[in-house]
């Protein structure tokens, strides 16, 4: 397999394809496990002895997290030679990265199925697998920094964003294993605080990869380099970075800690979301002006993400008010916020990026699938709204139950209609995502030679006119 890719070509498409296929398999299995988990809310004995919630939840979490960073990595590999005008520094590293990541994933999944856990939130696998996870990122980091040889004085904002994401992934994953030392492990408050700190920043690190990729395609679709060099973009980046470094505090209102830490963190994180919405809004205006049809599919996903940014922002403001947070903490309202961020924002941005890659490499074929993609996106988005509201509903029932001093089991019984709602909408969401993924996979696996196997009418050819980078 030839990994080497000359600049300004699409011959490194096989690399992106391999990573995107891996990412899609993470996403589909992750969603399936999520659906199984939701059934376990409805029928407590469902797979209780074969795949209990103790296993289905960590599998779901690990796979969905892996979807986010693997798809971002695949896109970055595709973009790197285009950004630099150079070939990848270490073509052999691609293969090592892929094999290492696949092996680590299989080991982690095997550990969960066989009941071997590390028992920490997000990273619920045994600690030695965490070391392998970090190792699997090394070839990616080497290829990224050595291919790019970035001059940060002039680099566009997405280079800063990607660099930060990679750098802090190593820092935060390492930090999350500080509990292996007695100084942290023997003090529960310290241990919990550091866990929230490391996990909060880790989420920020992969967000940086995703936002960077989104910024990159915005620049290309609008054909406006100013968008990734101007002051407001860098102001957003530095606010995002500040958010990555310090905003974890808003998760720890109930952990005994200094209140001002959380207040400062809360203000910072809110500003970041507002600014991102502002940038996308400005970008849409610019897109209308250019009337560039090429990026339509990606544009629609970015618009959907835009909507979720504002919804999630509203929810984040509400649940970050300490007096409200006291009640919402530990309810599915927090889960609704997490789902809005990972599916509504991250996944939609990633699909925008992936369809941009496909549009660049297989423009005519993608054009043929446009209607199906639009319908799948609509289904996914409607399902996500239903899912989100069902989670909010079950959260509100739990709050009411707490206020009435109801037992946990009574609250669970009262929440049942909402659990049915999120299980049903979860299935619908799975259907929408399966439709999107199967369309993307069909384009990914189609050879370029076959792309012109059918005659296209003039309108189709015009609409799919590639926007050369």
């Amino acid at each position: 397999m030839k990994y080497f890719s000359p600049p300004h070509s699409t011959s490194n498409f096989p690399v992106a394809r391999a990573f995107l296929l891996l990412a899609f398999s993470y996403l589909l299995f992750g969603l399936l496990l999520g659906c199984i988990g939701s059934f376990q809310y409805l029928w407590p004995s469902f797979l209780k002895n074969k795949l209990s919630f103790q296993q289905s939840r960590p599998l779901h979490v690990y796979l969905v997290i892996s979807w986010i960073f693997t798809s971002a990595q695949g896109a970055i590999y595709y973009f790197l030679p285009r950004v630099t005008g150079r070939n990848l520094f270490w073509p052999g590293g691609l293969k090592i990265h892929f094999i290492l990541q696949l092996s680590v994933s299989l080991l982690i999944i095997g550990a969960f199925f066989s009941g071997h856990f590390g028992g920490r939130e997000y990273l619920e696998f045994p600690p030695w697998l965490g070391i392998l996870l970090l190792l699997s990122w090394l070839p990616f980091a080497i290829n990224f920094f050595c291919t790019l040889k970035p001059d940060y004085r002039k680099a566009p904002v997405y280079i800063w964003s990607w660099s930060t994401g990679i750098f802090f992934f190593f820092i935060t994953v390492s930090e999350s294993y500080l509990w292996l030392f007695d100084h942290f492990n023997k003090q529960i408050i310290r241990d919990i605080t550091i866990q929230w700190k490391a996990l909060g920043s880790m989420v920020g690190s992969w967000n940086m990869l995703v936002y960077g990729a989104a910024m990159f395609i915005m620049e290309k679709i609008t054909n406006d380099k100013r968008i990734s060099h101007n002051r407001i973009s860098f102001a957003f980046y530095f606010l995002g970075l500040t958010n990555l470094l310090f905003n974890w505090g808003h998760h720890t209102y109930i952990v005994p800690a200094a209140p001002w830490v959380q207040t400062v963190a809360y203000v910072i994180s809110m500003t970041e979301l507002l600014l991102l919405g502002h940038i996308i809004w400005k970008w849409k205006k610019s897109l209308t002006a250019t009337k560039n049809k090429y990026g339509n599919i990606s544009y629609r996903f970015l618009s959907v993400a835009d909507g979720w940014i504002f919804l999630n922002l509203t929810l984040a403001i509400l649940i970050s008010v300490p007096s409200l947070n006291y009640y919402t903490h530990g309810t599915h309202i927090t889960v609704a916020h997490a789902m809005g961020a990972t599916i509504g924002i991250n996944t939609m941005l990633l699909f925008a990026v992936i369809f941009y890659v496909l549009g660049d490499a297989r423009p005519l074929l993608l054009q043929r699938k446009e209607r199906l993609i639009n319908r799948s996106l609509t289904l996914t988005n409607i399902a996500l709204y239903l899912f989100w509201f069902a989670l909010l509903g079950s959260g509100l029932v739990k709050i009411a139950g707490k206020l009435n001093n109801n037992s946990f089991y009574k609250i669970m019984d009262q929440s049942l209609p909402w659990f049915r709602g999120f299980a049903a909408s979860g299935l619908l969401l799975l259907a929408g995502i399966v439709a999107l993924v199967s369309t993307a996979v069909a384009v990914l696996l189609h050879s370029r030679k076959n792309e012109t196997g059918r005659k296209f009418n003039k309108r189709e050819v015009k609409r799919s006119g590639r926007h050369l980078i």
Binding site: Q40, Y41, P44, S45, K48, N49, S52, F53, Q54, Q55, R57, P58, F117, G118, G119, R120, E121, E124, Y152, R153, W160, E175, L178, H183, F184, N185, K186, Q187, I188, I189, R190, I192, T193, I194, Q195, W196, K197, F234, F238, L241, T242, L245, F246, H251, T252, Y253, I254, V255, P256, A257, A258, H329, G330, T331, H332, T334, V335, N405, S407, F408
Partner: protein
């Protein structure tokens, strides 16, 4: 260069803040020694090995299928016997992990220790 300085400034702040959080303000006032300390450590280790965090929360970290456990020890409607009953037999949702008496004692000791630190949960 300005961007590089801003980055370095933020990163320095992060490093200093991390050091502060690692060393100050997050230590427990409880001093545990000897057998009590060993039992709590064993309980914590078992809590992690069985991935209790998938279903239960401690200080907001964990899943929602089972009840929050930060104050399970002092909760008038739960308490020690309630915790022991579930640890020994499981429940409608909770699998039976077949814990030995020693293991059950260790997890109960760990939850009791967590509860004793949960001052923010017990505000009127």
């Amino acid at each position: 260069m300005r961007k590089i300085f801003i980055f370095l400034g933020l990163f320095s702040g992060y490093a200093a803040y991390s050091y502060l959080v690692y060393t100050k303000g997050t230590e427990s006032e409880l001093v545990l020694r000897g057998i009590q300390q060993q039992q709590i450590e064993l309980g914590k280790s078992l809590y992690q090995q069985h991935n209790c965090t998938a279903c239960h929360q401690l200080y907001g970290l964990g899943g929602y299928l089972g009840p929050e456990l930060t104050t399970a020890w002092s909760d008038p409607s739960r308490g020690e016997n309630y915790i022991r009953a579930f640890l020994q037999k499981g429940g409608q949702r909770m699998p039976d992990f077949h814990f030995t008496k020693n293991e059950t004692d260790a997890i109960v000791a760990f939850l009791r220790y967590v509860d004793s630190t949960a001052i923010t949960y017990k505000k009127p």
